[in-house]
């Protein structure tokens, strides 16, 4: 008998351990679910961690209003299957209620607003732990973050003053009003996520697979045409075979040219790619070198 676990099984065990630790030590945890592959994997792991019981927390979607229809449909179906409660923290509602002000112009983004809406929802629901699907391989500020990431009463992250995190002894002690962001899939890479999706036969929304779509190019990112974007001068829509590597706000998430229409082909493509997931697809990260660190400090995912 060899008692070996593959790297995917080790990563899975680590995630399950984290889920159970949070469920045991926090009063009001919540899982952030965007309908993207990482949060789908996270939801799957949560299901495994508590089986045959239901996961003992709610699921929250921070909804910018700029969604892919198939992702919303997927979200609702998954939540119904699992019998968990869905909380929707809505950016459009916050705008209507005057809690947030929409940016203007063709490059308007609801990215910053998302942070305010998220923090408001945390406060309103008194969540004390929020599971996020961020991975450390995504971005250099995320590469620095703990599995249990402490947020003060303003929801802010202080990268220069993180709690030491030793072995698998996570310190989740907080005061009223503070919370912990928990990242159970910190150590998965994009390739690990896809291999895990394959191994576990996890369903993901159709936008991840190659399909024909009308797009245009902005800041070297391919954005989908549609109701959430206004074309600027010189931007010409064209139809291309693309897929999404990440799924988020339609107005700033780019598609990549790809013919990968099965999970196997996606794995092949991801293994060979020379551009990071965010570099290829996120207009919002191109603002500055430290864009992610700055947004995270303010309380972003």
């Amino acid at each position: 008998m060899s008692f070996d676990l593959s790297h995917l099984r080790q990563l899975e065990a680590e995630s399950i351990h984290i889920f159970r630790e949070v469920a045991a030590e926090f009063e009001r945890p919540c899982l952030l679910f965007s309908g993207g592959k990482d949060s789908i994997v996270m939801l799957h792991l949560a299901q495994k961690a508590f089986w045959p019981a239901r996961m003992p927390f709610v699921v929250m979607h921070v909804d910018t209003g700029h969604n892919f229809a198939e992702v919303l449909e997927f979200r609702d179906r998954r939540v119904a299957e699992l019998g968990v409660r869905l909380v929707v923290a809505s950016v459009p509602e916050a705008i209507d209620a005057g809690r947030a002000v929409e940016e203007t112009g063709p490059r308007a983004s609801r990215n910053r607003l998302q942070t305010a809406v998220l923090l408001h929802a945390i406060e309103e629901n008194r969540f004390d732990a929020l599971f996020g699907g961020a991975r450390r391989d995504e971005e250099k500020a995320r590469a620095k973050e703990r599995v249990y990431s402490f947020r003060d009463e303003f929801g802010q992250w202080d990268p220069k003053n993180q709690r030491p995190e030793l072995w698998s002894l996570y310190n989740g002690r907080i005061r009223m009003g503070e919370h912990i962001r928990v990242f159970p899939i910190s150590n998965y890479t994009e390739l690990d996520v896809w291999q895990y999706i394959k191994d576990e036969e996890i369903e993901v929304p159709s936008v991840y697979f190659a399909h024909r779509r009308e797009v245009f190019e902005r800041d070297s990112v391919l954005l989908s045409t549609g109701p959430y974007v206004t074309l600027m001068d010189g931007e010409e829509p064209f139809t291309e075979t693309v897929r999404y590597r990440t799924v988020g706000d339609m107005s700033c998430t780019g598609a990549v040219p790809s013919s990968a229409d099965t999970v196997d082909k996606i794995i092949e493509e991801v293994a060979a790619t020379r551009i990071t997931e965010r570099g290829a697809t996120r207009a919002d990260d191109k603002v500055s070198e430290a864009a992610m660190e700055d947004r995270k400090r303010e309380g972003y995912f």
């Binding site: 089986w51 045959p52 019981a53 993180q162 990071t276």
Partner: protein, 418 residues
């Protein structure tokens, strides 16, 4: 695929981040957009070469100061293994972040600048690696390009570190001469050092034998969470969820539950994918027993004839991590050990250890930031533990300051007090 976690360590500017950058670069794990960003930043900073350290020094403050402040985690894979790298800071002020990165490592690479030789921080990190019982240590003598790839200089540094290491518990120590900046002996053997007959760093990382580093002897199952579905289908289901912290547990095994001491047998070991016949570290499973026993989080399922120490008096080494408070006799903390948290009081500071000379100062009155010492602690309720050297999971703990909720110490258990 197998997985290996390793951490870099060593003094400021010895080239840890550059080494990681080089490993990623030469294994083609760096993405074009990352490289482009790093090239741009290097030019902006007026650097002569592309500064590969910027691949891991991702925080604003780190780039401004040109040093690493906190651990960065990086990932790469070869056909043989998946690697998780913790690039840790060399600066003494950030030792706690080094310990964070090293606590889960299977292997540590301590870098030494060939020109400077063994410095205090090299010794500190070598010592911490041995204290944390990282099973494999690589001493990378770096910047060989700046000493003309001189064999003699490599031997001098090697002997100097070996003398120090002889006083430590290091099971597996390997020396490799490298230039992180130029890539010598990182992925391929260097043509500049024909005299070196050993493996390149990457080859060593791929081949080092880690399968036997785990404890597969002493069955330890700290109960993390009790699963009670309260559904019609699983009406009477009661499972104890946790991560195996040692040994192997099998269906049918006779077990004892601590703290109560009651015995039972394992009815099944459940997972979402169905029951398994046996579970070993680090599997996360759910155990059901044949008898109704009151079990909750913080209890531990073990084998009747192989039990951990059950005690309130703990003899341990601690690494102190707080600048705000120091450790003194009678200080009170929360101790977190496996899945159990309780209060604890420091009974005695046996000695403070000088990591340079390994001298024990038994007249020390306190431990302050980044100091290491031996302490005696009494917990409010008994803990179920093993010596850290026998089991890194059941032998480790952290101390938390109740006033600030900060993690203030990493502890490694030596035993109980007789």
């Amino acid at each position: 695929m197998e997985m290996l976690r390793f951490a870099t360590a060593g003094s400021v500017d010895d080239g840890k981040s550059t080494l990681i950058g080089r490993l990623l670069y030469d294994t083609k794990t760096i993405f074009e957009d990352q490289l482009e960003a790093v090239e741009k930043a290097s030019v902006q900073m007026g650097a002569e070469y592309t500064n590969l350290a910027l691949l891991t020094d991702g925080l604003r403050a780190e780039r401004e100061q040109g040093i690493t402040i906190d651990v960065a985690y990086r990932y790469f894979a070869t056909p043989r293994r998946k690697f998780i790298i913790a690039d840790t800071p060399g600066h003494i002020q950030y030792t706690r972040n080094m310990v964070t990165g090293a606590s889960t490592a299977d292997l540590a690479i301590v870098l030494i600048d060939a020109r400077k030789g063994v410095l205090e921080q090299s010794r500190r990190h070598g010592f911490l690696a041995s204290l944390l019982r990282i099973p494999h240590l690589v001493l990378a003598v770096n910047k060989m390009d700046l000493v003309d790839y001189d064999q003699q200089r490599f031997f001098e540094v090697r002997n100097e570190f070996r003398d120090f290491a002889a006083k430590l518990n290091i099971a597996d120590l390997t020396f490799i001469p490298v230039s992180a900046l130029h890539g010598d002996n990182i992925v391929d053997r260097s043509a500049n050092m024909e005299w070196y007959q050993g493996s390149s760093l990457l080859h060593h990382l791929e081949e080092v034998h880690i399968a036997s580093d785990r404890n597969l002897i002493d069955a330890r199952f700290p109960v993390q969470y009790v699963i009670r579905p309260q559904s019609d289908q699983y009406h009477d289901y009661r499972g104890y969820a946790g991560t195996v912290a040692g040994g192997v547990l099998r269906t049918g095994d006779e077990v004892t539950v601590l703290a109560s001491g009651f015995s039972s047998t394992i009815k099944s070991i459940d997972t979402f994918d169905g029951p398994v016949a046996e579970a070993f570290s680090p599997m996360a499973v759910t155990i059901r027993l044949n008898d109704e026993i009151d079990i909750s989080r913080g209890d531990m399922i073990v084998r009747p004839n192989n039990q951990p120490t059950v005690a309130q008096d703990i003899d341990a080494m601690v690494c102190w991590m707080s600048e705000r408070v120091s450790l003194r006799p009678n200080s009170k903390f929360v101790i977190k050990h496996t899945t159990r948290s309780t209060k604890a009081i420091v009974k005695d500071l046996t000695y403070l250890l000088d990591v340079n000379t390994l001298h024990r100062d038994d007249s020390a009155a306190e431990l302050s930031l980044n100091e290491i010492g031996r302490v005696q602690i009494r917990s409010q309720v008994p803990l179920f533990f093993d010596e850290y050297r026998r089991n890194r999971q059941t032998g480790s703990f952290v101390l938390i300051d109740e006033a600030t909720n900060a993690t203030v110490a990493a502890g490694m258990i030596l035993g109980t007090l007789s």
